[in-house]
């Protein structure tokens, strides 16, 4: 037939009677969406492998029957019907089947009105679930400070599993069991906090329902606001301002910082500052650190530390690289540290009554704020972390009409920032800001061209060679943890040419964090990043070193310069070897008391003469001699990691002693050395257990 031949030559298909040209779409689903039909799906995601489980995207193709559009490649001449009577009936039944198994307490669900299942039910006009209700009643996992898992709301689309494995290369959660008992869970159905999850929140970013969401902390913030004795001090991360607008229908990339400050003041926040201020401060510290290391050719490459998901990832998988990571705290934590140090004098309020709240695009920041090392005198430097979506909800809950607000400026001095601090939110931003500082400092003259475009963009790994006063510096910018693993492996093997590496765990940087609104696809991410670079251009100052209020802060509090003793004390941190998390643990002593101190000694499982046995035995003896059996949980952790001289890891409470090279006593000298190594373990035990 002539019509058909025309189509074949023209490279088109017919969709619901309309001719559509095939472009570079990989599958029918994308082609149909291009044609303007929003065909439904839960499990299809353009950046993940095709899964084909939800079956919502099925279409009828003449001559071929019913096919899933997500997994079928377009062929010229296909005649496609997206909505036949049969398919419509089917989709309704599909949704009813899911609803029969779902926790239907929608009004109380934080995902309500942003939930794909709810949307679909409404769209299809599902008015009754004809099936017997079969709710799962599985316990909700609230163990993680970053993410809450509710398997009762899971539709088993597998997006979270695939993002964790394919984009982040971790696989902390996966499918378990079979058939109707299938579920998505960490290994052994353990709590999320106990496994290798790095809290990046990408799973929450792709979850279509409320099965995995960032932990909801807004109530705690309201409590602080209403507490008459406390003042609430907020910091707002760069990436928040270019995405919050989307929650209110504004296009991605628009900088709504001004409106947000105003809204927060109305809500009752006492002071609203900008994380970009301490981002500038981070540059002061980190660029100085870099110049120092580069001159000494020591511990290179320097790797950034502002992304807590990356840091946890390194602590778990690459403990040997921990000394490469910058000792600088992240901007969030620097802010908490500085605010609680500086504000009591400035405001006259006692330190214990200052509540620091950070508004972040990120779920890992919630985890970071709870780390014991970031507490001073038992109080966290950053008290609460809420996400972009959470602040959006808080604004809505008060009824504030966000779009109508007049913008207000950040409070001073910690609301003053340069463009360098603002671009932290995009992948490459930290590197660019650091380069603006380092190049000027090393060359000794004012930097005219502040743009380092080579480090911008959404590619997973970007490299650049920067010429600084005749020397070449090799830098790399990495986003996404699969790419991070690749680069880290190279570095660990000594095969890396880089001097300075920036790592962001989320694809595209913080702008695509787990706490941001919507499901950011590549286009949205690019718009948000563009928003940040545009803001950078619009600001008076672009180089972090020009932030004179940061300089003043240094003069008043940190002996006047970055890297000083006082600066080091307040603005730097250390890291913890978390690699024991994978070792097979076998209990040796189980304490009966509630907060028994965990003690874990690694034993290498494929050598008979591993000195870990000896060390463990000494530890057990010491505990028994002191009568501490009821207060400790001692485990032997069997590791399959190789290396006869590999240091043995010993965890005592929260501390990890990872350089116990504890050889089997061969002569008195070694015996003495053993006793010394054991000394450090003994000291740690005494610290935890001696009352």
């Amino acid at each position: 037939m002539k019509g058909e031949t025309d189509m074949k030559i023209n490279n088109t298909v017919k969709i619901n009677g309309i001719d559509v040209e095939i472009g570079d779409e990989k599958n029918l689903l994308e082609l149909i969406r291009k044609a303007g039909i929003e065909i439904p799906t839960f499990c299809y995601h353009s950046e993940l492998s095709v899964y084909g489980a939800c079956r919502l995207c099925i279409v009828e193709v003449d001559g071929k029957g019913i096919m899933a559009s997500c997994s079928t490649a377009p062929e010229p001449g296909m005649v496609i019907h997206t909505d036949t009577k049969e398919i419509r009936e089917f989709r309704k039944i599909n949704v009813e089947l899911l609803l029969a198994n779902h926790d239907r307490e929608c009004p109380t669900c934080p995902k309500s009105s942003h939930c794909a299942l709810q949307d679909l039910g409404r769209r299809l006009g599902v008015e009754k679930v004809r099936f017997k209700e079969n709710p799962k009643s599985v316990e909700i996992d609230m163990s993680s400070p970053s993410l809450t898992r509710d398997p009762n709301k899971c539709v088993l689309c597998g997006d979270c599993v695939r993002v964790c494995k394919e984009v982040q290369g971790i696989g902390a959660i996966d499918f378990a069991n079979r058939g109707s008992k299938s579920c998505v869970a960490p290994a052994f159905n353990d709590n999320l906090a106990n496994v290798e999850c790095v809290n990046c929140g990408q799973c929450a970013a792709v979850c279509p329902t409320g099965a995995i969401i960032p932990r909801q902390d807004a109530e705690k913030v309201w409590d602080a606001i209403y507490d008459k004795d406390k003042i609430v001090v907020a910091q707002i991360a760069p990436a928040v301002r270019v995405a919050l607008g989307e929650y209110f229908g504004i296009e991605p990339g628009a900088n709504v910082a001004g409106k947000l400050v105003k809204a927060m003041k109305i809500m009752g926040f006492d002071l609203v500052f900008d994380t970009s201020f301490t981002a500038d401060m981070t540059i002061f510290e980190e660029a100085t650190e870099f110049i120092d290391r580069f001159k000494k050719a020591d511990k290179l490459p320097l790797i950034t530390s502002c992304c807590p998901a990356w840091v946890k990832f390194a602590e778990i998988y690459f403990p040997e690289l921990l000394h490469n990571i910058s000792t600088c705290k992240s901007p969030q934590q620097m802010f908490g540290s500085v605010a609680k140090k500086v504000l009591p004098a400035q405001t006259g309020i006692k330190r214990e009554n200052i509540v620091v709240v950070s508004v972040m695009p990120c779920t890992a920041k919630k985890f970071e704020a709870t780390l014991p090392k970031f507490k001073t005198d038992g109080i966290p430097d950053v008290d609460h972390v809420i996400t972009t979506v959470e602040i959006g909800r808080m604004i809505n809950s008060m009824g504030i009409k966000f779009n109508d607000l007049e913008p207000e400026a950040f409070d001073m001095p910690m609301g003053f920032a340069t463009g360098g601090g603002v671009i932290f939110g995009a992948t490459g931003g930290v590197m660019e800001a650091a380069l603006r500082y380092a190049v000027e400092k090393v060359e000794g003259k004012k930097l005219k061209n502040v743009d380092f475009k080579a480090v911008r963009g959404m590619e997973k790994i970007k490299e650049a060679e920067i010429d600084v006063a005749g020397t070449k510096i090799n830098v790399a910018v990495v986003n996404g943890l699969v790419a991070a693993r690749e680069v880290a492996t190279q570095i660990a093997q000594g095969k890396s040419k880089y001097h300075f590496v920036e790592v962001m765990a989320c694809p595209g940087g913080c702008i695509a964090g787990g706490g941001q609104p919507g499901m950011a696809d590549l286009k949205v991410r690019q718009m948000r990043a563009q928003g940040l670079y545009q803001s950078d251009k619009n600001m008076q100052l672009q180089k972090s070193q020009d932030n004179y209020l940061v300089e003043e802060c240094y003069k008043e509090n940190f002996e006047g310069c970055p890297g000083s003793h006082a600066a080091h004390h307040a603005l730097h941190t250390h890291y913890k070897n978390r690699s024991q998390i994978f070792d097979a643990k076998v209990p040796v002593i189980r304490g009966t008391e509630k907060n028994s101190v965990p003690i874990i000694v690694t034993i290498c499982a494929n050598r008979e003469d591993c000195p870990g046995h000896n060390l463990l035995a000494r530890v057990v003896k010491y505990v028994k001699d002191n009568g501490w059996e009821n207060k400790v949980n001692i485990d032997a952790a069997f590791s399959s990691r190789q290396g006869p001289d590999a240091p043995i890891c010993v965890t005592v409470g929260d501390e990890v002693l990872d350089s116990c090279v504890f050889r089997n006593p061969m002569n008195t000298e070694e015996e003495i050395r053993n006793r010394c190594e054991f000394e450090s373990v003994r000291k740690a035990m005494d610290a935890c257990l001696k009352t």
Binding site: Y51, G52, A53, E86, F90, N94, N101, L156, G179
Partner: protein, 631 residues
Amino acid sequence: MKTDIIKLQERAGQYKDAAAKTTKRIILCAGTGCVANGSLKIRDRLLEILEKSSVKACLELTADNCDGTVHISKSGCQGFCQRGPLVRIEPDGILYTNVKPEDAEEIVSETITGGKVIERLLYKDPVNGKIYRGDDEMPFYARQKRLVLKNCTIDPECINEYIYKDGYKAAAKACLEMTPQQICAEIEKSGLRGRGGGGFPTGLKWKLTLASENAKKYIICNGDEGDPGAFMDRSVMEGNPHSLIEGMMIAARAVAADEGYVYVRAEYPLAVERMRRAVKDAENAGFLGENLFGSSFNFKIVVMEGAGAFVCGEETALIASIEGKRGMPMPKPPFPAQKGLWGKPTVINNVETLATIPVIIREGAENYRKTGTEKSPGTKTFALTGHVANTGLIEVPFGTTLREIVNNIGGGVTDEKGNVTDEYFKSVQIGGPSGGCLTPEMLDMPLDFDSLKSVGAMVGSGGLVVMNNKTCMVSVARFFMQFTQNESCGKCVPCREGTKQMLAMLDDIMEGRADENTLILLEKTAKAVRIGSLCGLGKTAPNPVLSTLKYFREEYEAHVFKKRCPTGQCKALAIPEILADKCKGCMACAKKCPVGAISGAKKEAHKIDPDKCIKCGVCKTICRFDAVTGI
């Protein structure tokens, strides 16, 4: 090249000579069924007795140890499972059935030494009383056409016997005389269709795989026969493993693959063992490895065990399993012929399909087409089970009628006591949990792929379960639905949730909680699961329900509207009653009733109180007068 063919001839000759030196051969069926019934104990007993006598026994035929001996060998499943253990005596052509270890002595003295037949051990037809000496005339065997199962009596652990029976000739021909294109064409010409259930033309599948451009390709033999009630593939793997190896070699040559996998269910440990042994023997003989038959063709086989998942019988799930993952299917397209194991073009064929390949190459496609029907040439193995006199493994040409199978080969439908009686035939379930029901009206329908599809059933893997009229069809549908529900992988929504809801609805129907909406919803859900599921398991899961709804709707309606189970099988709906005209008032039931639900004076008709009755059935069992009904 020629030397390799000569090697084949040599081995065949070696075997023939060695066999000629023996006086007699005793073949003991050592398929899983007969082993369970003690066939190995019979063998041990025979060896004991022969040890003490003057006659020596030979277990493995080699050139120098078998002069004047009695060759005792094991075979794979010979198919007549109901009458096992089976013992054959050659060259006398005697088949002894239901043999026990105690009979060993008599067999040695009477038959082996004395040359006489023991009549009581011969097969006696239960209907006409005729006694059969060998299998050439008895209806069960005589009316079959055994192609794939032809060599079921050989010793599966003796590669030379396989060669003697024309083994590896077809592989040699394929390697030396045919091009890959020619092999594909021949198989296409033969019209062979996949025997695993799909019925896809094998030749076409091979052609598509050959056409896929890739240096690396794979052959996978799907031995994950999970259909409950099917054991055809098991018998081939246990009884004639070399036929599979040969089939795979030819397939590999046809598509230019160099590596193959045999995936066997873990529930078949004997099959795994025999396959592994056969692969090793073939490697040692030079039929697997490099430069086979002197050509440039290389091929090696790995035997893998499944781990207990029915869904792994589906091709993409099987591939996932071999890759070390959960056995969850992937959407098709892309098909394995383009992107299979490790993303490479892969041919996956069923055991029976592969075992047929050497036959076709050896005897030619035209010859093969002489059996069967136009669109479904060749034969099909079936596992005939259920309420039928002769249960076991059979092979018949496509086009054979149901009547032939059930009555003539199967010996007729039986009641619960095992007696043959014609009036009891209700249905035959064909195709396992993906299949449907055939009714008495279809007894004269010639069975093949298309005719079965037209009545809403399918050949499936070949399980045939005969059901007498005491079987509740709703319960049959529920049984299969529970199986499918249990085995569903859980990936796609329609199968995972839909089958669960369908099972719940069937339970409602069987337990008296259903109403007219249940039946409507059941049908709607069944249709949704059928069109929307990701893989064959889900797509065919509703078949038993849809099929029984179509042909036995009255039974469903009785359950729903009258809250009665016509066959009395559904306990929840049972209303036990004592027939007044049969009751003698002996009070035996009242005494035995655990809840005191029966009342009545001596010599007077008793009554059951339905509120107290727990339907345990003790009264029915104890009653000598058959007066209790409804249970």
